[in-house]
């Protein structure tokens, strides 16, 4: 049995522009208390020259800096997104080439709404454990789409996170165990050739988000004998700023264990980066011996629960790349007009 695999490098990226959510209220006439009811103040907006590939590139560069490895040693590039620049043509090969990983590597794009990158993480753990590859690069990156005027527009945001999975002996955090729970639950979808997703309104909560995360985390607890008291931090998928706190309460985690990894109130929901950027922020500040429960979720629907133990190597890696807080502090507020320009919402009459 080889040693348990872990995270040898991590990194995130948040675009410069932030749209205060009061701007969406001003333009579309929602109730003024909508942003506070979602516990989200601003959302990060990718620029006109950014997409899930460019954001994933920067997150992966930060992860490579922390891993300190030759990129050509990476044997798999798995890209989780629901905002692919091409419908057909892998984003993963663009990233592998631009990061210096090609040509001897696996590379593909994965799709499972917000959970694709987490599935990539589970597969990476298997690939590293089996000896198939020494290192695997997992990237979760999205420029989330929302129909202008839909309530989803409040939270659909842009950011990316990358994890390099490798041998536990080199890792800043070892993945001790994991558990996955999926069902066919139609809470959120986007049909082919449709620019914006539809969602099942109230259906996105109880039968989707809460049922799947609670089931995955309880499954992990039963499998391992662990409980909420065994974790220093808990990170859940964060479609808004309230769901993670509610699911934490249902599972017996105090909010003090959740708040350090709760990034959505500052940038919105970054979909495939949503839970992972919370993990990234915790790794930025974690101490050796800390334990982290990570539970991403994706519509359609499914959730994974991971038990993670931070090692002494985390300290030497924390300063090797910009932290999530560095990106949170670097921001430029924009209004709805500039947001419309950046997101390509302006229609030209020809």
């Amino acid at each position: 049995m080889v040693d348990k695999p872990g995270i040898v490098g991590w990194g995130s990226y948040i675009p410069l522009n932030r749209l205060p959510l009061d701007e969406i209220t001003r333009v579309w006439g929602f109730q003024p208390e909508m942003p506070s009811s979602l516990n989200v103040r601003e959302k990060a907006v990718a620029g006109r020259d950014e997409d899930s590939v460019t954001m994933g590139w920067e997150a992966a560069r930060n992860a490579l800096r922390r891993a300190g490895i030759d990129p050509s040693l990476i044997g798999a590039v798995w890209f989780g997104t629901e905002s692919k620049p091409y419908a057909v043509k892998p984003s993963a090969t663009i990233l592998a080439e631009a990061l210096g990983i090609t040509p001897v590597t696996m590379a593909s794009d994965m799709e499972f709404a917000c959970r694709a990158a987490s599935e990539a993480l589970r597969i990476s753990l298997a690939a590293v454990s089996s000896g198939l590859v020494r290192y695997a690069l997992v990237i979760g990156s999205d420029t989330a789409q929302a129909n202008p005027g839909d309530v989803l527009e409040y939270t659909a945001a842009s950011a990316a996170t990358a994890l390099i999975v490798g041998p536990g002996s080199e890792a800043a955090a070892v993945i001790e165990d994991s558990y996955t729970y999926v069902t066919d639950t139609p809470d959120f979808w986007r049909r082919a050739h449709q620019p914006y997703p539809l969602h099942g309104e109230g259906f996105t909560g109880a039968p989707a988000y809460f049922h799947h995360i609670v089931s995955a985390v309880k499954g992990l607890f039963e499998k391992t004998g662990l409980g909420p008291e065994d974790f220093t931090y808990a990170v859940f998928h964060q479609p808004n700023g309230t769901f993670p706190l509610r699911v934490a309460k249902m599972l017996g985690f105090p909010k003090e264990k959740v708040l350090p990894g709760l990034v959505t109130p500052y940038i919105g929901n970054s979909y495939n980066s949503s839970a992972l950027i919370g993990l990234s922020r915790i790794l930025d500040i974690a101490n050796p011996g800390d334990t982290i429960l990570l539970a991403p979720f994706g519509s359609g629907a499914g959730s994974d629960a991971y038990a993670i133990r931070v090692t002494e190597k985390v300290l030497e890696k924390q300063t090797l790349a910009p932290t999530v807080d560095d990106y949170l502090e670097r921001k430029k507020k924009i209004d709805y007009a500039l947001y419309a320009k950046h997101r390509g919402l302006i229609k030209r009459i020809r």
Partner: protein, 139 residues
Amino acid sequence: MPMNYSVPRAWRERKKYYRLEAARCLSCGRVNYPPGPVCRYCGSDKLEKIELIDEKARLITWTVIHVPVEGYEEHRPLIIGIVETLDTKARLLTRIVDAEPSELSRGMILEPVLRRIREDGEAGLIHYAITYRPPIKQV
């Protein structure tokens, strides 16, 4: 489907745009970007490939384009600058991103970042290239 930009050319130039692949002259030591078959400084054909992707650069000069050519309209105003890499002293013509013209100053340090620089219409290739921006953490 007509393409405005040659697909083979985009493929051939990908390392130049993604990794800043350049040519160091083994005779005079200068770094050529973009790389060519001979050194543009001394004419030698003894060159080695290097990558500039891990280097920060110093801003030499810049201009702002308000009326760009077709394909770049959505990106305006475009800031185009000349930068010099800190270690290899290569000079590059590049796009400057994530900055207003008023935020730029001669000699400021910039860092490389991959951006989407052009789309070949609605159906053609999307072109990515290294651009430069003020660092996330000021040095």
